[in-house]
């Protein structure tokens, strides 16, 4: 008790430099815990990009590639799946619902997703949240389009604006389907998923913009037919990119996947989204791990600053140690005193650091969620924080042994004499 009080009084006496040391520890802990929170939150958000979907089905490729283009809109499907296969899938008894996805076009760098209005009903993210409309409604007419929050913000679109879609997925396309403009009927709320950057139209719309483009380039037909002419055509799609599937009984998903994978008419692949997303995170998450490792080293720097500050104080405190010895303190008192000081510095520093993380989360969470779709609010005070606190404090105590043993050596050599 006396020792703790002494250590505290001694630190308080040197509060100027102690505060700087505490600050160094606080910042290093802030960085580490902050990076860790960001990493776990972003992994959480990433893995929750899609929920409630039991399988994603497409033409045979790798599960990762299927999920990448279907959900993250990265890369293109090498082949599509036929509409007949899709109908077979949708008609299966163990399939509760299906949502077709048709990709291949873009609008100023944003992916155009052809789908049905079932998409808005069945696509869930982050623990089953629905995709909701900020303004307007789902597409109804052939030339209706729904845009994600990010698209609306970036391109400053409002309801009722007319846009044209282009063939291919490059940011700038030389081939625009600009003789068939679309009208924005709905703008979605931010989700923090790739949907924010998507332009959603009906499946017939995808067919419509490609009338006369079946060869991949505009035929004379493409320019002759007006928007209204196209309405008269049969716009049932022949090929889609993939389908999101919900099963009636999730426990039977292995059977359903096998049925899809062995479908004799076409080479199909069924992938479990969660599994593929976890695989993708293995790749993407490396950056987070690297960042965490770096901030781990910053903590080491913070700990070393404790060591430095105590070691440099020792010279001017030889007298203090001799006085303590004179009034009856033993060598172990001197050792404990300095270890206590190191522990105080580390404990206060890491408590402040962790506190700052939560303060920053409280202040920045809404902005963060809106900007990056990462839900920081989910990160509650957890065992990780306690572990960081405990490890930093214990390491400081351990490092405190270095100045403590130095002081012990000094004090044994000095005896009771005080060297001026």
């Amino acid at each position: 008790m006396t020792l703790l009080a002494l250590a505290w009084a001694s630190l308080w006496n040197r509060r100027g430099s102690a505060l700087l040391t505490i600050l160094a520890v606080a910042v290093s802990v802030l960085l580490f815990v902050g990076v860790d929170k960001l990493r776990t939150s972003s992994e959480e958000s990433f893995s929750q990009t899609i929920s409630g979907t039991d399988m994603i089905v497409g033409a045979r490729t790798s599960p990762v590639s299927l999920v990448l283009f279907s959900i993250f809109h990265i890369g293109d499907p090498a082949a599509g799946m036929t509409w007949e296969s899709y109908e077979w899938l949708a008609d299966r008894e163990d399939v509760a619902w299906t949502v077709p996805i048709s990709l291949g076009d873009s609008h100023l760098g944003h992916r155009v997703v052809g789908t049905t209005t079932d998409f808005f009903e069945h696509y869930k993210y982050r623990d089953g949240q629905d995709v909701t409309f900020a303004e307007g409604t789902a597409f109804d007419d052939l030339y209706d389009v729904v845009i994600g929050a990010g698209v609306a913000e970036e391109l400053e679109y409002a309801l009722g604006d007319e846009i044209t879609l282009s063939h291919g997925t490059g940011p700038v396309s030389f081939q625009s389907h600009d003789n068939r403009p679309f009208t924005i009927t709905g703008i979605l709320n931010p989700t923090g998923t790739p949907i924010d950057g998507s332009v959603l139209v009906s499946l017939p719309a995808i067919e419509a913009i490609h009338v006369g483009w079946q060869s991949g380039a505009p035929s004379p037909l493409a320019n002759i037919l007006t928007a209204d002419d196209v309405r008269q055509l049969d716009l049932t799609p022949h090929v889609i990119s993939s389908a999101l599937v919900g099963l009636t009984d999730r426990r039977r998903s292995l059977l359903a996947m096998r049925a899809v994978n062995t479908y004799p008419e076409e080479a199909l692949l069924a992938a479990r989204p969660a599994q593929a997303i976890a695989e993708i995170w293995e790749l993407v998450g490396v950056a987070g791990k690297a960042l965490l490792a770096v901030s781990g080293f910053v903590i080491v720097v913070g700990l070393v600053s404790i060591l430095t500050s105590i070691l440099t104080s020792l010279r001017e405190r030889r007298r203090e140690m001799a006085v303590l010895r004179a009034v009856g303190a033993g060598p172990h008192h001197i050792v404990l005193l300095l270890i206590c000081e190191a522990i105080f510095l580390a404990a206060i520093g890491s408590a402040i650091g962790i506190g700052l993380v939560y303060l920053m989360i409280a202040l920045a969470a809404p902005m963060f969620e809106a900007q990056f779709g990462i839900a920081l609010a989910q990160s509650e005070f957890g065992s990780t924080d306690m572990i960081v606190f405990a490890v930093v404090t214990a390491s400081a105590g351990l490092l405190g042994l270095i100045p403590a043993l130095q002081a012990l050596k000094n004090s044994l050599a000095d005896g009771l004499s005080i060297k001026l």
């Binding site: 006396t2 002494l6 009084a9 001694s10 308080w12 006496n13 040197r14 007298r319 203090e320 001799a322 006085v323 303590l324 010895r325 004179a326 009034v327 009856g328 303190a329 033993g330 060598p331 172990h332 008192h333 005896g415 009771l416 004499s417 005080i418 001026l420």
Partner: protein, 233 residues
């Protein structure tokens, strides 16, 4: 029986030739001894040995019936905490404690010493206040102010109060007056002797200033009892 007995004590610093050799030195309980020790005579070493901070390689040092050499380091620390008070030449006080906390510090480190105060019916602060008052520090404001606000003379008196609190059996004063002017020196010396007597403590007063020795029961020259001292030519 004497309070402190040194017999054939020899001490050498590590990797050095023997530095101190004392055939015999004693202090009786309550005795006030003036030890004349010029620099280089082994004064600091002797005080380190007596207080149990250093341990001799040869010989016997017994304090209050216990052979210090046979005690563990921790036990020697407890003996010092309980039964010795030390006043240095300068910088006696912990700069981060108040005057009051500095005075009561030994009682915080030794329960036995604390009990000696509290068994007398006083709490620590009352006793500290009484001692400080006897030593001429009556300003209540001073008691809770940082020690760095004090003059050197005041600091030495606070150190004396700390050495005296809890009536230890031996007060070791190592040149406590050499930083003081003549008037303050005489006053301090008188107070220290008076209070040691009042507490029943033996006093070992070390100084190079021979003129102070008259007021003591006995005068010892370290250069004569330490056979290895470098006697000035």
């Amino acid at each position: 029986m004497s309070l402190l007995t040194l017999k054939d004590v020899e001490f050498a610093w590590p990797n050095s030739a023997p530095f101190l050799n004392i055939a015999s030195f004693e202090i009786a309980p309550g005795e006030h001894v003036f030890l004349k020790g010029p620099s280089g005579s082994g004064k600091s070493t002797l005080l380190g040995l007596i207080s149990g901070v250093l341990s001799a390689q040869k010989g016997e040092i017994s304090f209050d019936g216990q052979d210090l050499a046979k005690l563990s380091g921790g036990a020697r620390d407890r003996v010092r905490a309980t039964d010795m008070g030390v006043v240095f030449q300068l910088f006696n006080l912990l700069p981060y404690l108040s005057v009051m906390s500095n005075v009561t510090l030994p009682c915080k480190l030794s329960a036995a010493r604390r009990n000696r105060v509290t068994n007398g019916g006083d709490d620590l602060e009352t006793e500290a206040r009484r001692l400080l008052e006897r030593l001429g520090l009556t300003d209540e404001k001073l008691l809770n102010s940082p020690v760095t606000n004090l003059s050197v003379g005041q600091q030495q008196r606070v150190a004396a109060a700390r050495a005296l609190i809890g009536a230890p059996k031996l007060i070791i004063a190592d040149e406590p007056t050499s930083a003081l002017d003549t008037r303050a020196r005489d006053a301090f010396l008188a107070l220290l002797k008076e209070e040691s007597e009042h507490a029943g403590s033996a006093l070992l007063f070390v100084s190079h200033d021979d003129g102070l020795g008259d007021a003591f029961h006995r005068r010892v020259d370290l250069t004569q009892i330490n056979t290895l001292a470098e006697v000035p030519a």
